[in-house]
């Protein structure tokens, strides 16, 4: 099945069986290995991407449902040379240790900050509750996201003034 989809703002095409997983399309023909496979059954959230702005576990999304849709992966948040504030905060405030859950965490946090620029710690915990981390105990991830929210709000305020 031929599928046309926009990935990180770029129009792409893949030819795969309709039930092939979006995760395999990303990691295979699309060459984006940022999303990981931690469990393959939608529990761990390491494969999370935004599908039309909504966080989904790409291991549970058939590629056949992605025609004409827009996918954002961790690579689309910001490249290593110009990290987005959320990514930079995650690296600076201890949100990433082994880093395997980090792409999915960033996607879940990005979705949160897009709809709620001033979240509480509980809001952050709820937003990332579908993403498992075994290294950090989550405290530093929550702090990283709160720092990013603060930085983004300050930047917005600066732009408005």
């Amino acid at each position: 099945m031929k599928v046309a989809l926009k990935v990180n703002g770029v129009q792409r095409h893949v030819d795969l069986a309709p039930l092939a997983r979006l995760l395999d399309a990303l990691r295979g023909p699309l060459g984006l290995t940022g999303a990981k496979e931690g469990c393959g059954e939608g529990e761990c959230g390491t494969c999370a991407v935004l599908l039309d702005g909504v966080p989904v576990n790409s291991c549970l999304v058939p590629i056949g449902q992605c025609d004409g849709r827009e996918v954002t992966t961790v690579e689309g948040l910001g490249a290593i040379e110009h990290l987005a504030p959320l990514q930079a905060c995650m690296a600076e405030h201890g949100g990433a240790q082994c880093g395997i859950c980090t792409p999915g965490m960033l996607i879940a946090a990005e979705a949160l900050l897009r709809r709620n620029p001033d979240p509480t710690a509980t809001d952050v915990r709820t937003a990332i509750s579908g993403n498992l981390c075994r290294c950090t105990g989550y405290e530093r991830i929550v702090q990283s996201v709160l720092h990013a929210a603060y930085d983004l709000r300050s930047a917005d305020k600066g732009a408005a003034e």
Partner: protein
């Protein structure tokens, strides 16, 4: 926008600073390459493992369905293995089973195919002819030895620690007499269950052969373990083996010894097919086949004075090793060495026994035997407090070891003993004593309580281990006065690369970003010893410091007045050629350990920690929520305080998961719940907010002003602190993990029935 790549432009000391971790930018941008992110090599095949699916038996044959097209499938069985032994401590585990089956997930045959879907069908087309034998799954049953499944009587290892009155030929009778002479005698039985490491990246390896020999790269903690295993299995010379770590998504001990087996499997398939082979475990296979934390059962008897002064301790520690020995002797050893807890005992008899069962081999897991015995001793101290109507935290504080006291192995603590300060800080931050005194807070059907644990954890290898291991590190001088650290220590998330660069930068007096840490590959890094035992910063970091100082002094020796370090370094390189410092670890001279008597300096130093957990228990459903978790930890010196706290909090949450929700369910040797769906680790909503306080009682032989090892420490105290809090909230005493709602309900129902 913050630019994490911006180089530091001036020379500031970095030890004690929260520099951005060196691998941070790659990890947050999604370009860090974990093993399964690596592009396929030309001609690469996928590999898979055929497993026994019988807990114990005799392998009569392997049947390959004749109707299946095997033409493009590579098959490896035991007869293809040059030396069919997994090189570790005891030669009892085969790389592939040839005759005896000892657990449900024993690897029996290997398959490789370019087409992943065909490979899955090929696995289905293999059947095993196994004659079943009676199996043993319970450690006490194994110890009773009615059915013998390993050696003469199932016992793999025994250790005995004696002290004071028990230091005689008949230590058993002597300790009984010492306890009987005490004012108060308390007895108890304490148990712990399996735990899966559950690193979020499953195990995986890619192997290939070429003119240089055998290569393997993948998710691993200890490249030289794999190296040694290859040397034995394939009869290769050391220089023919090239083991390289890929970026590794967590380990916690789970990638200490098991990756050797996966790498050998991939290399066997690669050798036979002549092509590179990639084996990536899916989550279910990783759950089923790889090592877990040893279950334990401790029987404890102690004597103390009426005022709570502890006197005598008798303990039997039984551990379930699983089907093969793997690292169990060392796990049991660390377990018994921590069994007396951080308390002062005059008379001690601690016996440790590990037995085999027909479950997958248990192995390394953060804490390495200590969380099991510290669970027992902490719950036991809570029991003593209950008997004496004393506040348990106060009982623990009064009896804890201070400088000059001697441990169960008669080791006199010589400084860097920060326990007392940890107690004071953790109790103050949490308002522990006032909340204990106030009693449980009950609102409707919810009860809140608070509990604590006090513990210490030895850093580095046990006893003479480091002296025998002789870990090494090399630092090369690079153009521009930069340094490259070559070490076998791996960064599996803890931040090794960053901390090593901090240590070297300050030791050499150069900017942080002038230090680079090489990817650990046995082709070009020396054997620094494994990344285990809370030894990376404390032990290997100390030789990083020495090597950096040594190489900087070579540059300084030729430096002209007014010349920069970089210019002097370039001149030195131009005139003298390559400059390298290779330094070998030497433990402090006073470390004296008697392996036969199990006496003396078990570890050169201990890190200390006090945990306080506040919980809320639902009195209808018996669900436990940890509301807040305070810790104070004596880390010697925090080289990177933020990562140090992150490491402590992550370990505490792993311990809370072990206590409350993580439970492998077994049925006839098979795991019923080998998935993240029903093996429940804490999410961000289950995790409490952590407040972590760092205490610094420097260790004279630690790097950068006295750092101690803390990797395993936080795993030791979470479970007993939570159990003590649950007891405070509800009065329910649970001495066997886990504290699931079902088990809490059963304990509550039992205590109601008893009343």
């Amino acid at each position: 926008m913050v630019d994490v790549n911006k180089p530091r432009d001036k020379r500031d000391p970095v030890v004690g600073e929260n520099v951005v971790r060196v691998d941070g930018a790659a990890k947050v941008s999604g370009i860090a390459r974990y093993v399964d992110d690596m592009a396929p090599m030309p001609g690469e095949l996928h590999g898979a493992t055929v497993r026994s699916r019988v807990a114990r038996g005799i392998l009569r044959g392997i049947v390959f369905d004749p109707s299946f097209d095997w033409s493009d499938v590579t098959i490896v069985t035991a007869k293809d293995v040059p030396d069919n032994v997994v090189q570790l401590i005891v030669d009892d585990q085969p790389v592939l089973a040839s005759e005896r089956i000892n657990h449900m997930y024993e690897p029996v045959a290997l398959l490789a195919c370019a087409d992943k879907q065909k490979l899955a069908r090929a696995l289905e087309a293999v059947s095993l002819d196994i004659e079943p034998l009676p199996a043993v799954f319970d450690m006490e049953e194994s110890f009773a030895a009615k059915t013998v499944v390993w050696g003469d009587a199932n016992v793999q290892n025994r250790y005995l620690i004696t002290k004071g009155a028990a230091d005689t030929e008949d230590s058993d009778a002597a300790i009984d007499a010492a306890i009987a002479a005490c004012d108060v005698v308390v007895r108890g039985s304490y148990g712990t269950h399996h735990q899966e490491q559950l690193y979020i990246e499953p195990n995986g390896m890619i192997a290939w052969w070429d003119d240089a020999g055998a290569h393997a790269t993948g998710s691993l903690q200890c490249p030289y373990y794999v190296h040694k295993a290859f040397k034995r299995c394939f009869h290769l010379e050391p220089e023919q083996i090239h083991i390289t770590q890929a970026v590794t998504g967590g380990g916690f001990g789970g990638k200490e010894e098991y990756p050797s087996l996966i790498a050998m499997h991939a290399a066997l398939l690669a050798k036979k097919s002549g092509k590179p082979v990639r084996i990536i475990y899916d989550r279910v296979e990783d759950f089923e086949a790889t090592t877990k934390r040893h279950p334990s059962h401790c029987i404890v008897e102690s004597g103390c004075d009426k005022d709570g002064t502890l006197r005598a301790l008798k303990m039997r520690v039984l551990m379930d090793a699983g089907a093969y020995v793997t690292l169990s002797p060392v796990v049991l050893s660390r377990g018994v060495l921590h069994a007396g807890g951080c308390y002062r005992w005059n008379d001690v008899r601690i016996e440790g026994i590990s037995v085999a069962t027909n479950t997958p081999p248990n192995g390394a897991f953060r804490g390495f035997g200590a969380p099991q015995t510290i669970w027992a001793i902490e719950r036991h101290l809570d029991a003593v407090a209950r008997h004496l109507c004393l506040e348990p935290g106060e009982l623990k504080r009064r009896n804890m070891l201070v400088e000059g006291d001697s441990t169960s192995t008669s080791q006199v603590l010589r400084g860097s003993v920060g326990g007392t300060e940890c107690v004071a800080k953790a109790f103050a931050a949490s308002d522990y004593l006032a909340k204990r005194q106030h009693g449980p807070v009950i609102h409707g059907r919810k009860a809140r309580g608070i509990g604590c644990s006090v513990f210490m954890h030895g850093g580095g290898f046990t006893g003479s281990g480091e002296r025998m291991l002789k870990g090494k590190v090399a630092i090369d001088l690079m153009p521009g006065g930069r340094l490259e650290i070559r070490s076998g220590s791996t960064d599996i998330g803890q931040g090794t690369e960053t901390v090593f660069a901090q240590i070297a930068a300050d030791a050499a007096g150069i900017p942080f970003d002038h230090v680079h840490v090489a990817v650990p590959s046995t082709t070009y890094v020396p054997d620094s010893g494994p990344t285990v035992a809370s030894r990376t910063v404390m032990v290997v970091g100390s030789i990083v410091e020495r090597a950096a100082k040594e190489i900087a002094s070579k540059v300084d020796a030729v430096r002209r007045p007014g010349e920069t370090f970089a210019a002097a370094a370039d001149r030195l390189l131009a005139q003298e050629g390559a400059q390298t410092s290779l330094v070998q670890y030497e433990p402090p001279a006073w470390v004296n350990w008697d392996e036969k008597k199990y006496k003396g300096d078990a570890y050169p130093v201990y890190a200390w920690m006090v945990d306080v957990a506040e919980v809320e228990v639902d009195l209808d459903t018996f669900e436990v929520k940890v509301l807040k978790f305070w810790s104070a930890a004596d880390v010697g010196k925090a080289i990177h305080p933020l990562m140090c706290k992150g490491q402590l909090e992550g370990g505490s949450l792993q311990a809370i998961g072990w206590a409350l929700s993580e439970e492998l369910v077994w049925k006839n040797g098979a795991i019923v719940n080998p998935r993240m769906t029903n093996y429940i680790i804490p999410t961000a909503l289950d995790a409490p907010p952590f407040e972590t306080i760092l205490v610094e009682a420097p260790y004279a032989h630690g790097p950068s002003g006295g750092a101690k090892g803390i990797g395993e420490l936080p795993m030791d105290g979470g479970a007993p602190a939570v159990a003590a809090a649950v007891e405070h909230a509800t009065g329910i005493v649970i001495d066997h993990l886990p504290l699931t709602p079902e088990r809490l309900f059963a304990a509550w129902a039992n205590s109601e029935a008893a009343q």
